[in-house]
């Protein structure tokens, strides 16, 4: 009973924490890329003369953007399939939101102690992308249709990598519970199977639409891709989904490959350092590259996912049968 109560309380606390973390990740991503691009980006300490008008800090700028969208009109195109069109943002958001409960936070297992939390988390993360595609396909806009098509193409590649990376860890740890994987004694998985870590990192690039793999949302080519017809609170929900997805993917990476950072709340500083390092790499890749053309991008991405997928599989065989973990 106490366990259930504790879990319920931590879950309640986790909602604002994950939201804040997601927003902060997006802020860091934006700030870092701005600095790389000779821009200022969202201001951390507001200039003195503007502070009365704009507040002392703009760290929560991504949240303000989302809140602003909630206050705007929410158009629904006449030619769209309205039920699917309207339901998709809610469902996509729900998937990304629920996933936070199945991925542990330092010292807080939440629902990740469940036997199949790895499987549930992976389904929820796939679902978030699936509903984005569904919404775009039902929007009736040619740009949305092309965006959805590109999303499906790239989705087919990174989902293979995603499943391979996740279950390679599960196979070696002989468990499908994320909490068990995280608190497993011995060397961290990053050292045991670095190929799987690279593979999951590649998947994160595709899933978060980081350049050069943002063909689905190519703003100059196909307007906004899947989000072309979305506005107002629907778009706000998609952006919230993105913030949660940011949190989910990074938390999942740390859980799988740097599990010992989760065993106690005292490891929080190490967790934060890991987050910053990951965000730094993601940002560097984002700012260094233009967008691929879809066909060339697919072959490039497919090639690397395949290579690291095979290496991961070989590594898993070695670890599972010839290595006493």
């Amino acid at each position: 009973m106490v366990d259930v109560l504790f879990t319920a309380v931590t879950m309640l606390i986790m909602v604002p924490v994950a939201l804040f973390a997601g927003i902060l990740y997006v802020f860091l991503f934006r700030k870092l890329s701005a600095r790389f691009q000779w821009r200022v980006g969202p201001i951390v300490r507001m200039y003195k003369d503007l502070a009365p008008l704009l507040g002392t800090s703009r760290i929560l700028q991504p949240l303000y953007d989302i809140l602003k969208l909630f206050g705007k009109d929410t158009p629904v195109p006449d030619i769209s399939r309205k039920t699917i069109f309207v339901a998709s943002p809610y469902l996509a958001f729900l998937c990304a939101f629920l996933a936070i409960f199945f991925i542990p936070f330092p010292g807080v297992p939440l629902l990740s102690t469940m036997e199949d939390s790895l499987v549930i988390a992976s389904y929820l993360l796939i679902g978030a992308v699936m509903f984005t595609i569904l919404g775009a396909a039902s929007s009736g806009s040619p740009w949305g249709a092309i965006g959805a098509r590109r999303d499906v193409e790239i989705f087919l590649i990174y989902e293979v990598g995603f499943v391979v990376a996740l279950f390679s860890v599960g196979l070696v740890a002989r468990s499908l519970s994320l909490w068990e994987i995280a608190t497993r004694p011995g060397l961290p998985m990053l050292i045991l199977n670095p190929f799987a870590a690279v593979l999951l990192f590649l998947v994160i690039l595709g899933k978060l639409a980081i350049k050069p793999l943002d063909m689905a949302e190519a703003e100059a080519e196909i307007v906004a891709g899947p989000f072309t017809e979305y506005g107002g609170k629907h778009l706000a929900l998609f952006q919230l989904m993105k913030a949660f997805l940011f949190y989910d993917m990074i938390a999942l990476f740390i859980t799988l490959f740097l599990g010992s950072a989760l065993s106690s709340i005292l490891w929080l500083p190490a967790y934060i350092i890991a987050v910053i390092v990951l965000l730094f790499f993601i940002t560097v890749i984002q700012v260094l590259h233009p967008r691929f053309q879809i066909a060339k991008g697919m072959s490039w991405y497919g090639r690397w996912v395949l290579v690291f997928g095979l290496l991961t599989a070989i590594m898993v065989l070695v670890l599972r049968f010839y290595w006493v973990v």
Binding site: S33, Q37, P142, A220, H289, P290, F292
Partner: protein
């Protein structure tokens, strides 16, 4: 400045090129005016373009009020001889029909569509009879207000009654294209200027393309005609914000060709300096835009950051960043002092070094390469027939450059300034990128030499202009950053009606108004061949191919509401628009 045409060229012209000519009149510099009969123009076009390898610079018309129209063709023979041929023929006012040159060469097609709309002259047998500036479905002849064969949807020619249901951009059949016809524009985030490119896609593959411009016709020609020679240059500068220096120089070159102009050497150096600084910032700007079009915000930000350094030099010299306002007939209005030239020159090595680091990084980036190699192919033959100009033509291995062929009134004399024409044989996006990157360095070299001259010398910067003979004609050419820029002028005073004069005065010799000015911008040519480059490429490449011509579509528009049932039109005023928006927000 004034050089007369070589007698051997005149002889060659009379015997071989235009034996049909009725009247031969050498103008200033290498321009020769030849009057011919209207029936001969199509035959002559065939001979000039197909046999002699000349380029049609522009085709246009001049309204001579009660005397009818003059149709003007300007051919550039610089591939063969140092000659610009202005071919003129009279058109009857009561029966304004001219034979089409567009059948012979694609270069004339857009020009003929324009003539049809501006002057109401019908062109017989033109390959593309659609509206140029008006919407395709516009039912009436803009000149006479009567239904005419100008519109595709006039019942007389097509049997189609114009409604919104049967509207279609031509070239693409709506019955087969409904599901896959994508309108890129009029205001698309990829190319943030007013134009529509219709692409028909099969998956991600472009199988058909069409372009429609004319979303912001401002009537600049007329504005200049009503302002006179001296004030016209300020309007001309405002044709384009990015290559305003090129427009200023082309305008003064043209106006100075109307009389016997002498431009002091120092003024010529200052003009060259500004035009080349303008080219540097324009090319850097383009590299940034191209980076943005392929989704590389970092490249965009950094190149535009560097561009600011060039803008700072321009600002120090002219006091302005965009429209410099220093162009005057017979010189320039502001001197560049020796100290200023010295200071500006000190910044050049730093700029050059920054660009030397940046541009190879942009051009050699592996993903950028994947986006530009083989994209938007344009062969030499296509470029020649389509009339490509500037970096687009030079990237298709066609060595044309107005600065060498028909130099404007600035310092491009190879004995005083050393520079070269950059050509490239890739014939694709990569070629266009490389040409612009290399030209940036050539231009910086010219800027450096100009500043070196200016910091050592002093002198006059302006000569007083002289009276302009009524009815004289001139062509001013200049190499804008985007390609050959064309100005044609005809002085007023012979045909301009009296109503243009103040009460009680009659139009006499020495009127300070132009009868006609015609501008043909380089983008006008390059845009016309965009569909050729698009067909066969991937949808992802459409913005960058469109951007590869460095389009420059000038802005300013007004809203027109047309009721397609009653065909009544009504122009919305600013107040009405404000009221409409307020109504929307209060409801």
């Amino acid at each position: 400045m004034t050089t007369s045409v070589d007698p051997t060229i005149m002889e060659w012209l009379k015997t071989e090129v235009v034996p049909e000519g009725l009247e031969f009149k050498p103008l200033r510099e290498n321009r020769v005016l030849v009057r011919v009969k209207l029936e001969d123009v199509a035959k002559l076009a065939e001979r000039f373009v197909k046999k002699l390898g000349a380029r049609l610079s522009h085709e246009t018309g001049v309204d001579r009020e009660q005397s009818g129209f003059d149709i003007v063709y300007v051919y550039d023979f610089s591939n063969v001889k140092n000659l610009v041929l202005i071919l003129e023929a009279s058109v009857d006012r009561d029966n304004p029909i001219i034979p089409s040159v567009g059948k012979v060469t694609w270069q004339a097609v857009w020009a003929e569509r324009e003539i049809k709309e501006f002057l109401g002259i019908n062109v017989e047998g033109m390959p593309d009879p659609r509206h140029q500036f008006l919407p395709y479905e516009w039912p009436k002849n803009p000149e006479t207000g009567l239904p005419s064969d100008l519109s595709l949807y006039t019942p007389a020619t097509t049997g189609i009654i114009p409604t919104s249901a049967n509207w279609k951009p031509i070239g693409i059949d709506p019955t087969t294209a409904r599901s896959s016809l994508l309108p890129i524009g009029p205001y698309h985030p990829g190319v943030i200027e007013g134009q529509t490119v219709y692409v028909r896609v099969d998956g991600e593959h472009v199988i058909d393309a069409d372009i429609k411009t004319g979303y912001h016709h401002r009537g600049i020609h007329r504005l200049i005609e009503r302002r006179g020679y001296n004030k016209g240059v300020f309007v001309a500068e405002r044709v384009c914000g990015i290559c305003s220096a090129a427009h200023g120089l082309a305008y003064v070159t043209c106006a100075e060709n109307l009389y016997d102009a002498e431009v002091p050497e120092r003024a010529q150096y200052i003009r060259t300096l500004l035009v080349e600084l303008n080219r540097v910032q324009s090319h850097i700007l383009w590299i940034g835009v191209a980076a943005d079009l392929i989704g590389w915000k970092t490249g965009f930000m950094i190149t535009w950051g560097l561009r600011e350094r060039v803008m700072d030099i321009i600002e120090a010299i002219t006091g302005n960043r965009v429209n410099y306002g220093i162009w005057r007939l017979g010189g320039v209005s502001r001197d560049v002092s020796q100290e200023l030239a010295m200071k500006a020159r000190q910044t050049i090595p730093g700029l050059k070094e920054a660009l030397t680091q940046l541009i190879p990084a942009v051009v050699d980036h592996p993903v950028v390469k994947a986006r530009v190699v083989g994209v938007g192919p344009l062969t030499f033959a296509q470029a020649f027939d389509g009339g490509a100009v500037g970096p687009v033509a030079r990237a298709s291995n066609w060595k044309i450059d107005t600065r060498r062929d028909n130099p404007p009134h600035a310092m491009y004399d190879p004995r005083k300034i050393s520079w070269e024409i950059v050509v490239d044989d890739h014939c694709d996006m990569l070629g266009r990128t490389l040409v612009r990157a290399k030209e940036t360095f050539v231009s910086i070299g010219i800027v450096d030499q100009c500043l070196a001259y200016l910091e050592k010398t002093t002198g006059e910067i302006r000569e007083k202009p002289q009276t302009i003979e009524p009815g004289s004609e001139a062509v001013g050419l200049n190499e804008a950053p985007r390609g050959e820029l064309f100005y044609y002028m005809r002085a007023g005073g012979t045909d301009v009606a009296d109503y243009m004069m103040p009460e009680g005065k009659h139009n006499v010799q020495g009127s300070n108004l132009l009868q006609a000015v015609r501008i043909r911008t380089p983008s006008y040519r390059n845009n016309a061949i965009i569909p050729q480059m698009l067909i066969g490429s991937a949808l992802a490449d459409v913005p960058i191919v469109m951007g590869s011509t460095d389009q420059c579509l000038a802005c300013t528009d007004r809203v027109e509401v047309i009721n397609d049932k009653t065909e009544e039109s009504h122009t919305l005023t600013w107040e009405e628009l404000v009221r409409m928006s307020q109504k929307r927000w209060r409801s």
